[in-house]
């Protein structure tokens, strides 16, 4: 039982139908003799109604088959079969600015795994193949790319020169990963083939990598460590461009 006169909290609870029947009647009666409080309550009720109406449409959007529980169960099963570590999620985040400040515009959650430089491969898929994340920076004139990268990773190795394989740096994107801030520089050749250079800190466990390479689906990652960072070059497996690239990079 609430005490009279009702507190502001009681009035909120009244608006939200969270009072018991007896209390609700008490407040009802009290409001008839307190026009100012009654107006306040009506304004809150009105706002709530408008909000319900405004957000009602959001329930009508077409179903997204990706969100079906049965499908998600299947995916989870497949994932556990592949022994992917599911604990760590890598968040490839956001642009900033706009009407309400920066916002989670491109929030994409992808799972990372224990295999080296999986995030570099994921970044390649998101940016080069699916075009999900826009570039933060696009090259205007020669040499700008290195300057852009130097603003974020001052001591990192120089960008590899892939001119002999026909590749030029064209754009860059910053990413946030479990291991710390990362940058990906996209190279393209004349026919639009894409390879990426990826750099990030070794992470909280200071995981430095012996030089190596692995393939994952249609992609190949060559990775190494140096100057306090981990690096990867990602390219499509078996493309002539990738072969040429390999030769010119002297891995």
């Amino acid at each position: 039982m609430i005490s009279m006169p009702p507190s502001e909290r009681d009035l909120h609870a009244y608006v939200d139908h969270q009072l018991n029947e007896a209390d609700r009647r008490l407040v009802d009666t009290w409001l008839t003799t307190h026009p100012e409080a009654a107006a306040q309550v009506r304004a809150w009720q009105h706002d709530a109604q408008l909000l319900r109406a405004a957000l009602g449409g959001a329930l009508q959007q077409p179903a997204n088959p990706e969100l079906d529980p049965a499908l998600i169960r299947q995916r989870l099963k497949r994932q556990s079969r592949r022994h992917l570590a599911s604990a760590a999620v890598l968040l490839i985040a956001v642009g900033i600015g706009g009407f309400s400040g920066w916002q989670a515009r491109e929030m994409t959650l992808v799972r990372s795994s224990m295999l080296p430089m999986t995030d570099a491969l994921q970044a390649y898929r998101l940016i080069a193949q699916q075009g999900i994340l826009p570039a933060d920076y696009k090259v205007d004139t020669d040499g700008d790319m290195q300057r852009w990268l130097d603003r974020y990773f001052t001591q990192a190795s120089r960008l590899p020169d892939l001119k002999s394989a026909g590749f030029e740096p064209v754009s860059g994107r910053l990413l946030s990963t479990d291991e710390g801030p990362a940058a990906m520089v996209m190279y393209e050749d004349r026919s639009g083939h894409k390879v990426s250079f990826y750099v990030r800190p070794p992470g909280p466990k200071n995981t430095f990598l012996p030089r190596g390479s692995r393939s994952d689906g249609d992609l190949q990652a060559d990775y190494w460590s140096g100057d306090g960072y981990n690096y990867a070059m990602v390219s499509p497996t078996d493309s002539p461009a990738a072969k040429q690239l390999k030769q010119s990079m002297q891995f």
């Binding site: 939200d16 706002d47 959001a58 329930l59 989870l76 920066w102 989670a104 994409t108 959650l109």
Partner: protein
């Protein structure tokens, strides 16, 4: 299993709406919903609290959002540090007068949007919301009071704004 899945299917549109109100972007919202459902349906689901499935899912989604939010804040701070841009300052754009309740709502801080949606639109109980936000019920009440006030002020701006009076 399938009975539970049916229950989930009915709640998914609500989860998506909650996620949109948090992220303000429908594709990131669906990613968030997907990550939350994965969480809910994986081993973690065993820990499900008794009671309302909707409140339980809202709690998972809200926590996933906060995690992602923290990461993206780090990213935003990093960009800010390097580029010298500060988008946290109120801009002239942001002081433009709200033209509808929805716009007023969109201009509230995330926490207040989440709270008003759960209270006014979803009709969850204060206790359930306290569990979702992991705060005492009293805190929910005082935040609700502030959120309602803020929404009122933003919506009122529309009516009493001098610039709109000039238009009459």
């Amino acid at each position: 299993m399938s009975e539970f899945d049916e229950q989930l299917r009915e709640i998914i549109p609500r989860l998506r709406r909650f996620a949109v109100s948090l992220t303000r972007n429908s594709s990131s919202a669906d990613d968030l919903v997907q990550a939350s459902l994965e969480r809910a349906l994986s081993g973690w689901g065993a820990k499900r609290a008794e009671g309302d499935v909707r409140a339980w899912l809202f709690a998972i989604l809200y926590r996933q959002f906060l995690d992602a939010h923290r990461r993206s804040r780090r990213y935003a701070r990093m960009l800010e540090f390097f580029t010298g841009r500060d988008d946290a300052e109120p801009s002239t754009e942001r002081t433009v007068i709200a033209q509808s309740t929805l716009q007023a709502f969109d201009r509230l801080p995330t926490e207040q949007r989440a709270l008003l949606l759960m209270v006014s639109v979803e009709g969850l109980s204060y206790k359930e919301i306290a569990d979702i936000l992991d705060v005492p019920t009293g805190t929910v009440m005082s935040r609700l009071s502030r959120a309602r006030q803020a929404l009122r002020q933003l919506s009122d701006g529309e009516i009493s704004s001098p610039s709109l009076r000039i238009l009459k």
